[in-house]
Symmetry: C2
């Protein structure tokens, strides 16, 4: 079972309220380009991330607005910033690391930084068809000079999802995976 891999660079999700703090009253996010998952898009808007040890500039906001502001970075980024975010599924901010998000009109400091867990987007039909119905996790087999197996790929099911594995840039760079590559999904 070959599945397309999407590589997620560091990015930020924001609430409507936080958009107004970062970009000004009544500001609306603007779409730059649609992403592979229905209704999701990269925005023209970018922010700066700051923590005790460093800053990372030009971090893209992904739209639309969400119910929680959330910063997704890689372990590599966490060393640049000097924070120790936990690995979490999107939306789970338990023990998330403190980070400052800086926009052109204001900034926010919140415990919202996580390393996104590896995950696969699929429909229930995909899960049935490819043999991971009822499974919480699958594994990803990657070939090549720095190949191997990425485990603990969390299964996220929704009938609007396009079948795709999402990895962060550390996973992609470790295994020499490019956005849009295909890899094999297995059930252990």
């Amino acid at each position: 079972m070959k599945v397309k891999v999407g590589v997620s660079a560091r990015h930020v999700h924001v609430t409507k309220e936080d958009v107004e703090i970062l970009f000004g009253k009544d500001y609306k996010l603007t779409k730059k380009v649609d992403l592979s998952q229905k209704g999701q898009y990269a925005c023209n808007e970018q922010v700066t991330l700051k923590a005790e040890k460093g800053i990372i500039e030009k971090v893209r906001i992904l739209g639309p607005e969400r119910s929680k502001t959330q910063v997704e970075i890689s372990k590599t980024d966490s060393f640049t910033l000097g924070i120790d975010p936990p690995v979490r599924n999107s939306g789970d901010l338990s023990d998330a690391a403190k980070i400052t998000i800086i926009g052109p009109m204001g900034s926010i400091t919140k415990n919202v930084a996580i390393i996104a867990a590896r995950h696969i987007h699929a429909t229930k039909d995909d899960a049935k068809k490819y043999g991971f119905e009822g499974k919480d996790f699958v594994s990803l087999v990657v070939k090549g000079q720095k190949g191997g197996i990425l485990e603990n790929v969390y299964v996220r099911l929704n009938d609007d999802f396009s079948l795709e594995v999402h990895l962060d840039t550390d996973d992609a760079n470790s295994f020499l995976i490019k956005n849009g590559d295909e890899a094999e999904v297995i059930v252990k």
Copy 2:
């Protein structure tokens, strides 16, 4: 079979001639700290790496001097610099990427940048004892939230070697491995 993992940050090996270009005539490298492999050490001397798209400062030189100058970076670093280095065993500079090394007294531009292949240092006795005698490659099993299996870990045998797997920072950050952690070596 649990083996200690050493995480190799980006670094540079240099010839005696290139030390003099970078640091001045008759300059000798100075030891900062011994490394785990016998006779190898981190130097006080640091250089800047430069390529078309960017620079990386404060890159450490490892001593002693070698017969070839060699720059070992991660895939992540290669995006910062804008080069596409091959994955190679140390000492194999075939198709290595062009890079500029800048020291306080001079600079060198050479095709010497590689991504170091995953490898294990061991003695012949270690290989026999742990079941990878005669094997060119082993695999590394890593537990944890971002666990999995790193394949194509090249076996390097020398009776002076201390038993240790060397990974680059992309592999370490992808799998949440810290320098000095232990992981299981398996033969496929």
